[in-house]
Every structure is written in C-alpha cells, then in structure tokens.
Symmetry: C2
Subunit: 428 residues, 2 copies
C-alpha cells in the first residue's frame, strides 16, 4: 500500500475547476497522462449550454441537455470528481480552497465560464433574468408559461397585453434563439389551447443596442435572420439601448414597453476567477483574466485560465470569442502543454484559435450558418444546425431522445416539456 501511495504522491497533481466544455475537454485530453486529476464543480452535471434556450422554451427537458460529470468520466481512472464550491485559491500554498477543505495542485486549470453582465445595473437581474444554468432555464420556462396562464385569467385588456409581451434584450445567438422560440410557442404551439385569450396577440420584441443582430455574422446573414424572426412575428429593434428594466416594463429611451417577461441575453461577465487570483492579475472589462499566449496567468506559473473566463487574442489581434469550440480547443491545448511537460518535452507553440464558423437558429426550419467558405440560411442551415447539435450532444441516448423530440415538434408543433413546477406562481 505505501509504495502505491508514494508513487501516487510523486505524480503531478492537476486540478481543473469547472466541468463545462473547456474543463471537461482538458480532463479528457489528460486521460493518458501520468498525472492525478481532480475536477471540481459545484454542479453534478455537464451542461450543453447551446441548447439551454430550448429548455427555457419547453422544447427539451433538463436531462436531455445535461449529463452527470461522474457518469461521463466513469471510465477515466486518473480523475477524482469533487462536487463542491470553490471559495478561493491560495496561489502561494498552491491550493484550491473549497467549502469542504483545500485541494493541493501542481497545475491548475480554471474553466469557470461566465455569468450575466448588467453593465453596472445589477438590480435589473431580478426583473430580467439571464440564461446560464438549468435553474435559470426552468425558472424562465415557468415565467413564460405562467404569463399565458395569468393572461387567460386576467379581466383587464392592458394587463393581458403586458402579460403577453416578451422582451428579449441582446441580439446575439441566445437572444435570437430565445425570441424565435417564444414567438413559436405563442403563435404555434399554444394556439387553440386557451379559451379566453388568443395567444397570437402575444408580442415578442428583440432589442439590440448595435446596428444589427448577430453582429459576429456577415451582414447578409444578419438580414436573413431578422427576416426569419419577423416572419415568426418577432419585432426586431436595432440601435436601441435599454435604459431600465423593472418587473413591469422595459425602458428604451423615452419609450416604456409594458411587459411582464424580460430575458437578458445582452452580456457576459467572467466568473469570479479574477478575484480568486488576487489583485496582481490583470482583467479585461468583462472580468476575464488576461492570459499569456500559452493561456497561463502572468506571474503564476502552472495556473491556466481557459474558456469564457480567459481573455486572449487571435493572431490578428481580435479576441478569441466566448464560444464552446474555443473553450474546447483551449482545454485541449493546456492538456497537451502539461502532458509535454510531464514527459519532459519542449513547450508547444502558442495557442491558436481555429474558427469553425458561426451558427444560430431562428425557428422551425430557419437558421443561419457561416462557415467562412459556406454561408447557409433557411431550411438547409436549420438541418445543418440540428445535425451539428445532435452530433455534439454528449451521449448516445440523448442524441436519440433529442432527435425524437425535435422530429415530434416539427411534425406536431407541440413542445414536450411544458411543465410549470415548484408552485412559484406568485408573480406581480
């Protein structure tokens, strides 16, 4: 026993914080390395975030886009999964501090992702929740479905119209997808289910501060997406800055839009990695850690930040975008770097991001895809989008059930997860 323990002690200890796309990829890529891995996450599941909006709009169930981290890593024997909350990092003692005690590391990979940014208006959060976790998604689902139920019960026409007004703030992929999905819910799925209201009077307003939606895409695809949304009945308002959010309205300039549901899809802010690492570490405006070209933190050898929590530039000087493929590539890169060190090999060249393209779905049979060499819109783009997403869903069973649910709702206009749970129906 003792020789095994000693042998274990002599192995390099790599701690990964965060079981998202980046962290999980780093762990998987260290599968064959002679290291002792620990993956710490405060949630027990890996989340396929790109489909979170489908949970929020009742098309998919939480379990269909999430997998227990332990189950994913069941067969990888060199990793220990810890379900715990990180409270800080002691970079001198080289320990990750958690609620149940410290975890020592030789190398540390921080992959903690991002949360919503309200640009100095954190009090908007309650009125305008964002979409990052399963809990966010089920809370939003409850809010959206309850708005229809309350409208059905309301005797007041103005109140009814406010209940049936949905504002989505932010015209990036999440905002576009949410707006499209809410419009489909109101104008297709729920039609004929209510007796007193006509759900088709529901208004869905997508508000974007910049000059066009999907700013990361070519202008032609932004225009296609906007047309697609408008066909679904979404009102797209560009060059429109939100100046206040309350439980009953969104303020845009001098105009007040009465609404009961606001979805915040406007900005991200890196998780508290910056504060964990101390005042000497430089952050960008979104709270991301400015890392070296090899993704290590300046001044803290053996500490790496990847994914949405890291700020690093591409060769041209543009920042690497906060998307799943970037996080995965960075996870793989750092894992490779550590593996080379363990084997005594030379350092790899700096991290280089490979842009695999951009895609966003608008609604049933409607998406936009930009692969650089290929631009698609409409049904071909939507089929491509579906294929890609199903392919990347982590396990085989989920691929089948998600495909089935999509085929089902394509055929019937139904949505499979329209549950209001937790009795939290007391809204203003």
């Amino acid at each position: 026993m003792s020789s095994v323990a000693e042998k274990k002690q002599s192995r390099r200890r790599v701690v990964v914080v965060g079981g998202g796309f980046g962290g999980l990829k780093a762990v998987a890529a260290l599968r064959k390395a002679e290291v002792d891995l620990t993956l710490v996450d405060r949630r027990n599941h890996h989340l396929f975030q790109p489909l979170l909006y489908q949970v929020a709009t009742a098309a998919l169930s939480p379990a269909q886009i999430a997998q227990p981290i332990r189950a994913i890593l069941k067969r990888q024997r060199n990793v220990d999964v810890v379900l715990d909350e990180v409270t800080g990092i002691d970079t001198t003692a080289r320990q990750v501090l958690t609620r149940s005690g410290p975890i020592a590391y030789d190398d540390l990979i921080l992959a903690t992702g991002a949360s919503h940014a309200y640009f100095g208006h954190d009090h908007w959060q309650e009125a305008a929740p964002g979409l990052k976790s399963l809990d966010d998604a089920t809370a939003l689902r409850r809010r959206i479905l309850n708005a229809f139920e309350q409208a059905e019960l309301s005797e007041d026409a103005a109140e009814r119209q406010a209940l049936l007004t949905f504002c989505v703030v932010g015209g990036g992929p999440t905002g576009v997808e949410m707006a499209g999905a809410i419009a489909e819910l109101a104008h297709r799925t729920l039609v004929h289910e209510f007796r007193r209201i006509d759900t088709r009077i529901a208004r869905v307003i997508l508000i974007e501060a910049g000059p066009r939606i999907l700013a990361a895409m070519p202008a032609s695809l932004s225009a296609k997406a906007q047309q697609g949304l408008e066909r679904l009945g979404v009102t797209v308002r560009v060059n429109t800055a939100v100046t206040d959010c309350t439980q009953t309205s969104v303020q845009v300039g001098a105009e007040r839009i009465d609404c009961r549901t606001i979805v915040w899809a406007a900005g991200v802010r890196a998780s508290p990695v910056g504060s964990w690492l101390g005042a000497n570490v430089a952050l960008d405006r979104a709270g991301r850690v400015k890392v070296n070209p090899d993704l290590s933190v300046p001044g803290l050898p053996g500490v790496y930040v990847i994914g949405d929590a890291a700020a690093v530039n591409m060769a041209g000087g543009k920042p690497v975008p906060g998307v799943a493929p970037a996080a995965k590539q960075q996870g793989r890169y750092v894992a490779g770097l550590i593996s080379r060190q363990v084997r005594g090999q030379s350092a790899p060249p700096p991290f280089a991001y490979v842009d695999q393209g951009n895609l966003a779905t608008v609604g049933r049979g409607e998406a936009v895809v930009d692969l650089g060499w290929l631009k698609l819109s409409g049904l071909p783009a939507w089929l491509f989008w579906g294929l890609i997403h199903v392919f990347f869903l982590i396990d085989f069973r989920n691929r089948i059930t998600v495909s089935l649910d999509w085929i089902w709702s394509f055929v019937t206009d139904g949505r499979s997860a329209r549950l209001i749970t937790e009795g939290e129906r007391k809204q203003p």
Copy 2:
C-alpha cells in the same frame, strides 16, 4: 351573438376540480355532453403518479410522466381549463372560490386526490418527505444524489455510513418501488463512479408497521417481493413501527437508525375537500368524504367526490382502494350520471368498482402482479408491468421516450436524469 350567449347560459355548468386520473376521465367522458365544463387545477400538468418514484430515483425526467392539461384537452371544445388554486366552496351560492374569483357550477366534481399523512406527527414531514408531486420527486432526487456526493467528501466513517443509509417508511407499492430503485442506484448505477467511497456499502431499509409488505397482495407475492428486494440488498423490516423521524435518524422502538435520507410512503390523507364542504359533511379517519353509493355528497345535491378524496365501499363492505383505476372508474361513472340527467334519463345503478388487479415493481427484471385469476412474479411480471405502464402513459411521444429510457437503463445500468439542480445543497 346574444342568442349564442343565451344558449350557453342555459347549458348546465359542470366544474371539475383536479386534473388527475379521476378529474381528467370525468372531463373526457363529458366530451359529447351538452354541458359547459370548467377544469380547475393549481398545476398546469396531469401527472402519471405511478411512475413518480422513477423521477425521484433519476430514471425518468419530469416531462416524461407529465403532460400539460391544456395540451391533453386541446381538441375538446366544451372545456375551459383554469390554472388556479381553489380556496373554498360556497355550497349555498353554488360557487367554487379561487384566488382569481368565483366559478359558478350546477354540478361539481371534486377530484383533488390525497397528500401524505403523518398520523399526528406533521413535524416529521421535513425530515421524511413524501412523494405526490413532481416537486416532491425532484426534491427527493436531489436529496438522494447529494447524499452520495456528501459521503464522497466526508472524512468521518460514521457520518459516511449515515449519509449512505436510506430509510423508506411504508411497505406499500410506493415504498417497495422506492426501496428497490434506491438500492439499484447504489449497488448498480453509481458503482465505479466514486473514487473514495464504495457505494455498495449503502444500506436501504424498508420499514413496515404491519406483518408483511404489499398487504393488498396475496401473501405468496408479498414473500416474492421481499425476496426480490433482499436480493437487491434492501433490508426489509416488518412489524416495525416508526416512533420518530429527525434530520439525522429514524427511531424504531428502542433502536435508532442513523440516516440522512428518509422517504415517507406510509399514509395518505385526502386533500382539504372535507374542510371546503363544511362541518355537516362526514369524513373518514383519512379525511375522505363519505359519499353516497352514486358518489354524491349527502345533503349536497349535484356535488360529487371521486378518487382518493372519496370514501366509498365495495359491495362486500371493503373500501374502494385509492388507486388510479378506481379514480378513473369513478370519473367515468359521475360523467355518465350527469349525462343521463342532462338527457332526462333515469339514474344509473350505484357505482360498482371493478378490481383490475394489483401490481408493483421491485427492480430491474423483478415485479409482482396479481390479477386474481393470474399471479406473476419475476421477469414475466416485470415485462407485464412495463407494458401496462407504457400503455397508459398519456401520449404517444412519452411512450416512445420512456420505453427508450427503460431499454437504455436495462442494457447499461445507467439512469438518464441524474441531475442535482437548484443549488440547494445545504443539508445538515
């Protein structure tokens, strides 16, 4: 318009409270009757309660065993669905009182089901939650999965054993199914996923006050079920009364069992129908309304109680059991009675319960079935049980995805819905 309104006014108004098996069957059976129906429920979904334990033990997702009531009744034009909480009944003015206002009725069908009974120890509820709603099930799922996670983090052997001790109180079908499913989770699904604990040391204890489990079944099948549970590693303790439940233990006589998870499956208590109807209405010990042979409430013409909220005897004098088929039969009976009245036909003969048999599942490939003329156990019983349950699941899509999930877990020992959500990980 006015003639339509007058015509509508002259139609009989039937209000159904509760969208469970009984209420939904009553509504469906009044599909062609010349009545105006209103179905009131405080939840937006019909729940397939017999499979709730599978949500609590992470085998199925909530959406797989629940369907929006509006979606179920979409094509039935004579029914208005109201999502609201009933606060009382004014039997003089003939109105159901809800949070958003009164609903007038000519006939009233109360199908509000039952909740847990703690036999005068309501303070046990927090330590020993029961299983009636989706929220109960996801809360229990969180508690069970967290127990394993906390055991993995614990340094203390006694604490670890207590975390891995699961007590199920009550040896009816729900208790048997919960005990079997937790044992499978610990002894099969989670094995190899933890690095520090061996989940096979988990103890599952099924505690029954009576002389045998599944008392409604023939003794031979009770014995088979007990053997099946014991093969799965469940400790079955009959003739054992629980005298106290706390957050850290169950007291049985002089013995204290240290445990962190208690599941209450010992008793049901009718929902507050009794108190709504006033002091003149007779209730049995479980709070059920003692109804006439035609399921109407004595002294309240046009008011009917069905399902778990009603106390009515079979021809032999034994009470009609609180099971889904009984609720459905009663819903159909009262609907028929009202239809006959509307058409001016004579009253039907008193309600007669047709016993379709009893069944309970123990674990993978193991169940007991008693149809009177046929008794099954083991794999044949389990296949029969699966067939029946899939067949009765409300819609076609759910049948497919549930079947897939069952086949999947049969083949892999996996469970598809192992999510700990809502961050509520702060347990003692």
